[in-house]
């Protein structure tokens, strides 16, 4: 097994909402190894961004409480001073943000924005920085790099800007890259181009990647391992092949069944009832997903579902998935029975 670069243990990230703290990341543990792509999937509001921002130390500590451990190298990032953390972020850990239209400073040239992390992390002369930046721009697929170097964000298209955002993240050769829905804000055609670029870069680099996405197609193409999150908790972790071939948790299966490309013989798309509850309205006793699969009788649910290894390297929360079924499948059976009669 490769070396782990990041180990998260029982991370709890809580936000102060009207005087009370509510956990948006609720006891998450996960490990990222060298050169490994870990995809984090889940509907929006499941706490994926809250998780990434916790790793990067981007939460406003005035209204956010962070508990647990985020071990990077031999340090717990949660215990570092801001000055020490600043030595790591931008250099060893970098982040690609979701919306390239807002992630860049409108008043600084592209060149300056890519060079900025180098100012703090690398000892380079001005020309060295510029050369490195031009090289980075070429690597992210920008051909007229000399010109783009002096341009401002508003002069570039969304896709080009996202390439720049990626170049910023790569500027100091990180060992861990967090990508929070790097294509969600882009046009569909551009999404594919950016994902291709990410894949290509991933092949060239040794970087571990946490790829947050709700595009399961992307997961299938890029990820080594998949973490499924629901309402702040991890409900399933498995190698990508296992997860697609043998999804266990009802939430994972619901997600997979709601995607057209993943429908094999089945004709009907599953629509997950309801929405992810907000932090204050989330019932934190018992299984959090139960209210959204109301057709499963109460006594089928586990009272305190815990993560356990159901199969080698395949972890799932709760064991009652064994009796889980989709109502549309049963409808088929009943129809069949009726015709026979």
């Amino acid at each position: 097994m490769k070396n782990p670069v990041l180990e998260i243990n029982d991370l709890r990230t809580s936000f102060n909402i009207k005087g009370n703290y509510y956990a948006a990341v609720d006891g998450v543990s996960l490990t990222v190894h060298e050169n490994e792509v870990v995809a984090v999937v889940g509907e929006s509001g499941c706490g994926k961004s809250a998780l990434a921002n916790s790793i990067m130390g981007l939460h406003n500590l005035k209204n956010t409480k962070l508990e647990g451990q985020i071990n990077f190298g031999n340090q717990n990032l949660l215990e570092l001073s801001l000055a020490k953390l600043n030595k790591i972020r931008g250099k060893d850990i970098a982040m690609i943000f979701q919306d390239p239209m807002t992630a860049l400073n409108p008043l600084a040239t592209i060149g300056r924005q890519i060079e900025e992390p180098m100012d703090y992390h690398l000892k380079l002369s001005a020309t060295e920085k510029k050369n490195r930046t031009l090289e980075l721009l070429r690597r992210v697929g920008i051909k007229n790099e000399q010109r783009v170097y002096d341009q401002y964000p508003h002069e570039l298209s969304g896709g080009m800007r996202q390439r720049v955002v990626i170049a910023v993240a790569l500027s100091c050769d990180p060992v861990l890259l967090l990508a929070d829905e790097p294509t969600t804000a882009l046009d569909v055609t551009i999404q594919a181009q950016i994902m291709d670029l990410m894949k290509e870069l991933q092949n060239q680099m040794k970087t571990g990647i946490i790829l947050i996405t709700h595009d399961l197609g992307v997961v299938a193409e890029m990820a080594d391992r998949v973490v499924v999150m629901y309402a702040g908790e991890v409900v399933e972790i498995a190698d990508v092949k296992d997860l697609f071939e043998n999804p266990l948790h009802p939430y994972t299966r619901s997600l997979l069944n709601s995607i057209p490309s993943n429908l094999e013989a089945k004709e009907k798309l599953h629509v997950i009832d309801g929405i992810v509850p907000s932090l204050q309205n989330l019932d934190r006793t018992g299984c959090r997903f139960a209210p959204r699969i109301a057709w499963i009788p109460e006594e089928d649910h586990e009272e305190r579902p815990e993560m356990h290894e159901a199969e080698p390297n395949h972890f799932v929360r709760c064991s009652c998935y064994k009796t889980f079924y989709f109502p549309e499948d049963r409808v088929g059976e009943i129809d069949y029975v009726t015709t026979k009669n």
Binding site: R89, P106, L107, P117
Partner: protein, 322 residues
């Protein structure tokens, strides 16, 4: 860039012409005309005589002919005669323009010297005691009418403490150009400048504070933090740069505002500038002077707007200049 500035400057000409027509019409619409003032209260005035003079002066011509004459003269620096002071308006304005410009200039400088640091402190350390004090100050400054505040300042610093003079622009007996003259001018400026500045800081402080609070939440600030940029640099390089930009652009408008705003300050401190002259002329119905002053301040507004446009085009790369 030069082309833009040139084009923007040329654009001012029709604006100024339009304003001048408006001002002229207003002046015409006011009761009485140039002669009314000249013969006011004169029992010997013979109405027939006056009518003759009126005819001779062209006051009975159609408005556009009168306007043409008036504009032609104004362009050559001739704003006509003040009928109260019995001398050309230009003479009357001579030293006063300089006085008002000096007052405005220092008020502006002091305003920014106070407002920018306070705005930054309040915007950066929101909800600390420092911020609360600053915000309280802006509420007071906002609620206090400038003439009330100017009177209070005068009462306190001139009458109670007797530190500073409360009227005029310089002591009379001092020779121009000497060190004493310079000091005397500065002392006469102190109270008007401070009174104006302490009130006019409000907009800048509140704007800067609010804008910094907005900018702080922007995604690019998150990007900067994710790059490992130290907190102080996150502010100077990213947040402040974006927040100060509109302030730089407002500079042009501020200048205009100060020329208008000096009416109260100059009147209260009997400071011989354009604002004081304006009030006096209105009271004495010295219409030629009033019209000239309105024209000057309108022109200043147009120039200020142009300055703002030009500054904005220089500091903001998003403004495209072809």
């Amino acid at each position: 860039m030069l082309k833009f500035i040139l084009r923007r400057t040329l654009l001012m000409i029709p604006q100024i012409i339009l304003v001048s027509i408006l001002v002229f019409m207003l002046a015409k619409a006011m009761p009485g005309d140039a002669l009314t003032g000249a013969f006011q209260g004169n029992p010997d005035a013979n109405p027939e005589q006056i009518e003759k003079i009126r005819e001779k002066m062209g006051l009975n011509d159609p408005w556009y002919q009168q306007y043409g004459r008036w504009l032609g003269n104004a362009v050559q620096g001739d704003f006509g005669q003040s009928y109260v002071h019995k001398q050309p308006v230009t003479h009357l304005l001579a030293g006063k323009i300089e006085n008002t410009l000096l007052l405005s200039f220092f008020t502006l400088i002091i305003t920014y010297l106070i407002a920018i640091p306070l705005g930054i402190i309040a915007g950066r350390w929101t909800d600390t005691w420092a911020d609360k004090i600053i915000v309280t100050y802006t509420y007071f400054a906002f609620a206090t009418p400038i003439f009330v505040f100017a009177l209070l300042m005068m009462f306190f610093f001139s009458f109670i403490l007797d530190w500073l003079p409360y009227s005029g622009s310089v002591d009379i007996k001092i020779e121009t150009g000497t060190w004493d003259y310079f000091v005397s001018r500065a002392r006469h400026l102190a109270l008007p400048v401070l009174s104006g500045a302490l009130i006019s800081t409000v907009t800048t402080i509140q704007y800067l504070r609010n804008d910094m609070i907005d900018q702080k939440l922007k995604d690019f600030v998150k990007t900067a933090r994710a790059k490992g940029v130290p907190e102080r640099k996150v502010y100077t390089r990213h947040i402040l740069r974006n927040s100060l930009l509109p302030i730089a652009a407002f500079l042009g408008y501020e200048i205009t505002g100060l020329i208008g705003g000096s009416v109260f300050i100059e009147t209260i401190y009997s400071y011989p500038g354009l604002g004081y002259l304006f009030i006096q002329s209105i009271q004495t119905r010295d219409f030629t002077v009033v019209t000239s002053l309105v024209l000057i301040s309108a022109t200043a507004t147009i120039v200020g707007t142009m300055l703002s446009d030009i500054i904005l085009s220089i500091v903001d790369p998003r403004i495209r200049i072809e």
